[in-house]
Symmetry: C2
Subunit: 120 residues, 2 copies
DNA sequence: CACCTGGTTCGACGTATGTCAAAATACAAG
DNA sequence: CTTGTATTTTGACATACGTCGAACCAGGTG
């Protein structure tokens, strides 16, 4: 899905969407954007799905490979959509199957927000 | 598999929590625990409060210092409680005021989950 | 075409969540 | 002990969220 109206931080050049959490208090807008990503990982099922995609060989996985998380298939699809909308995953249809892969730059940005905060 | 159970020599109550997200699919229990922390940062107001505490000089802030986030004071208190319950903040009363500070080890653990995943 | 399988969307339902005003608690100072 | 300030708790409310089954869409295969 080339529905890229989400966030402008998938681009090469990777401006981190936000400063480290302990650099200065986040503004309302920064908090709004960043919270969306944390929120996307704030559900156990979504976190398992995300981890399943991220750890799958080749960096991508088809839905059928990761659907075994204890909820119905419509629910899986719903959560994958949420992760996509948060900018954490992208999807592509190839023949019968739909493949999901992680957006590495966004993940790195989130990590920096926390690790820089942690070590400062 | 890094069999390092010795990791947290800092605070009690701090579990190593989880492997990096791309090492292997998280189990249900791991996802449950980890999602709680992400969820705590998944609200804009909470994220601003957390950032305000983390960036405040001395590593701690009294509630009166960070209450200006656009919601009522009971709501601020409610969110601070959530952050405390998620293990991200701790609080201490000193005289009239209540001071909050970040739990650094937990923050570092969350960062590792993401950054290791990002760079692997 | 009809049919099957993989995946998404729709509609509904119960629960969780964010919010506030009002009441309650904790402490300091008269 | 009474008043005043800082913070939390309570109770209520609207909205958001996670979940499911049913219906729907997309491709491959006969």
């Amino acid at each position: 899905m080339s529905n890229v109206k989400v966030l402008p931080l998938l681009e090469p050049g990777v401006e981190p969407c936000c400063p480290p959490l302990n650099e200065r208090p986040l503004t309302a807008e920064e908090a709004e954007r960043t919270a969306k990503m944390f929120k996307a990982l704030g559900d156990p099922v979504r976190l398992r799905l995300f981890s399943a995609v991220a750890s799958h060989q080749g960096g991508e996985a088809c839905v059928c490979d990761i659907s075994d998380v204890g909820v119905s298939q419509p629910t899986v699809s719903h959560h994958l959509k949420k992760l996509r909308e948060a900018g954490l995953l992208s999807s592509e249809r190839r023949g019968t199957w739909v493949y999901y892969r992680v957006e590495p730059s966004v993940l790195a940005a989130m990590g920096q927000i926390l690790t820089k905060a942690a070590t400062a």
